[in-house]
């Protein structure tokens, strides 16, 4: 089969690989009908997330049709079922899964020995990601083996186009969880840094959850325009001070809820000297992430507010103002997304027409065009915001 394979920094290739095989009784094989390139794939593309190996198949946002089912998954899945595959692999039986903390499932990371060393304790296995999370082959491919398939799936009805439900596997629940863990009140201003795909979903989620005002921060005109279309007030950080404008919009109090939809690769600009400092340290390996957004959020957030971090961080960050954070009594909520905790509710909202996540797709191409689209997406060329691949 064909698959997009990681060969090293900025080197993704459309390779011919062997077909996946059922390994465990709970496995299933899915024929991928649609998959997407996620913003966090770019962290792997840049080799900022440790423990990728040449030959790893990319992709953690995919859906398709079940074509083979292991004997212990047959009570939940059958050949022909249409499923979205969540990016977090879950057993559905461990303590964490029972609590709904699916992204820290205790059973699915098959490389626990690595995760124990790096994270202290293992987190869930993830598709198409680092070997710290199991090194499971991803879904930017024609076929995908889904481990623990009886729990790791979201069944979707026929008749809804792939494009409307595909993002149930990652960016939609990720944006939703980012907003939910802010516990949005009708009096709240929610500020969202980053108008990429997760930022766009967080904006829509905050609007649906009834925030008083939603403010979106970026500098790319097309992304700001999409944010505005979704009901956000926008701030272009190239043109105005984020802190001053947020204070102005909140009567000098600061936003109650702040969402970091950027993560470890904050934009670098001489007008924000800390970003240059971070980039220099990142280049020589003295810091793995560029946490400009974290610093800005902690500074501008209203005391006793909430900071929600769906943006991916990989390792060590520097110069985090703990004094501000502690004295202002801020609450930080973060984590990979507990996808299956939200998807029944979100699928219902899609079916009822409350939201149509396909708005974010700007490019739909074949799998063979995948390597070039990584470059286009990374360089933000051709007004690219979200790429869907059709194997």
């Amino acid at each position: 089969m064909r698959a997009l394979v990681w060969h090293g920094k900025e080197d993704i290739r459309c390779d011919t690989v062997t077909d996946p095989e059922i390994e465990q009784p709970r496995d299933a094989i899915v024929k991928v009908t649609s998959c997407a390139i996620c913003g966090s794939d770019l962290h792997l593309f840049h080799n900022f997330i440790p423990a990728m190996l040449p030959g790893d198949i990319m992709g953690h946002e995919m859906m398709g049709e079940v074509v083979e089912v292991g004997p212990e998954a047959r009570h939940k899945l059958k050949v022909g079922d249409r499923v979205v595959v969540p990016f977090t692999i879950i057993c559905g039986q461990c303590d964490q899964c029972k609590r709904g903390n699916f992204s820290v499932c205790e059973a699915t990371n098959r490389k626990k020995y690595l995760a124990d060393k790096v994270f202290g304790h293992p987190t869930a296995g993830l598709f198409g990601y680092t070997h710290l999370t199991g090194g499971y082959p991803g879904g930017q491919a024609e076929y995908l083996r889904v481990p623990f398939a009886d729990a790791t799936h979201i069944k979707v009805p026929d008749g809804i186009p792939d494009e409307k439900v595909l993002f149930l596997g990652d960016i939609f629940p990720t944006g939703w969880q980012a907003a939910v863990q802010c516990d949005i009140q009708p009096t709240d201003t929610v500020a969202i840094w980053g108008c990429g795909p997760v930022g766009q979903m967080a904006i829509r989620s905050a609007v649906l959850l009834g925030a008083k005002q939603v403010v979106a921060i970026d500098h790319l005109p097309e992304r700001l325009e999409m944010a505005e279309a979704g009901g956000a007030i926008t701030i272009n950080f190239d043109e105005e001070s984020v802190v001053e404008r947020l204070n102005e919009l909140t009567g000098g109090l600061g936003p109650e809820k702040c969402i970091d939809a950027i993560g470890m690769e904050a934009h670098v600009s001489p007008s924000m000297p800390d970003t240059v400092y971070d980039r220099a340290k990142q280049m020589v390996g003295a810091e793995s992430d560029r946490p400009h957004v974290l610093r800005e959020m902690i500074y501008v957030c209203r005391p006793a507010g909430v900071i929600s971090i769906p943006g991916v961080y990989g390792g060590l960050v520097d110069k985090i103002p703990m004094g501000q954070l502690m004295n202002k009594g801020l609450t930080i909520r973060t984590g990979q997304t507990h996808v299956n905790r939200w998807t029944d509710d979100l699928l219902r909202r899609i079916e009822e027409g409350q939201i149509d996540p396909s708005f974010v797709i700007t490019h739909s191409v074949s799998l063979e065009e995948g390597p070039e689209m990584y470059k286009v997406f990374r360089d933000k060329q051709d007004s690219c915001i979200k790429v869907v691949l059709k194997p």
Binding site: E10, R13, T16, H46, G55, Q185, L209, A304, I355, I385
Partner: protein, 203 residues
């Protein structure tokens, strides 16, 4: 072929690469990578073999300068190998100018190693040409073209419109483990009731 070795880390049913296809790396990216590693190599040589280099060029006494250039080369290399490779390559072009100017000072008639300096100059000029080609190539390949971006003004994501969407999910119950501390407004709203209850309570 590194993927053949890394297959050790894969399980039996994991797909393995049979044939490799076209890469996301363009020719300019590969040139940048080669020049980046060249910078690292040259930088290390200048740093650790400064004496040999100055002797070969008849520039004895300039070891500290050569070592400083070595550190500079390492910097060019690190940036050229990073996603900001265009900055690395343009900084290499500037560095080439500095190298040429420095070598020119050694082209004196009384320098017995003048021939070696000539060879070094020719090499630097050749590399400068590659640096310019590489820098222009990666800049062109990775820049956002000027002009108007596409319009996404109609991409609301809300089939029933933004106004209908505002608060449409207020029926959603935030799970207890994700609730924040009460907002200031909620505390203020509750305060009068609590005060009334306190007053009614027998002392």
């Amino acid at each position: 072929m590194t993927y053949s070795i890394s297959n050790i880390a894969r399980s039996k049913g994991d797909p393995k690469v049979l044939h490799s296809g076209p890469s996301s790396l363009g020719a300019a990216d590969r040139l940048a990578r080669a020049l980046g590693w060249y910078s690292i190599g040259l930088g290390l040589a200048e740093l650790f073999a400064a004496k040999r280099i100055t002797r070969a060029l008849g520039m004895e006494g300039k070891e500290a300068l050569v070592r400083a250039y070595g550190v500079r080369e390492l910097g060019h290399g690190i940036v050229s190998l990073s996603p900001d490779k265009h900055l690395g390559l343009w900084s290499r072009v500037a560095g080439d100018g500095l190298d040429i100017a420095t070598l020119m000072t050694a082209m004196r008639h009384d320098n017995p190693k003048r021939d070696n300096v000539g060879i070094a100059l020719a090499a630097v000029l050749g590399v400068t040409l590659l640096d310019i080609i590489g820098a222009q190539g990666v800049t062109a390949r990775h820049s956002r073209p000027h002009g108007r971006p596409r319009s996404y003004r109609d991409r609301t994501g809300f089939p029933q419109g933004v106004q209908a969407a505002r608060g449409a999910a207020r029926d959603f119950k935030v799970p207890p483990d994700m609730r924040a501390v009460p907002t200031l407004a909620a505390v203020s709203d509750r305060a009068p009731q609590e005060k009334a209850q306190e007053k009614a309570r027998p002392h």
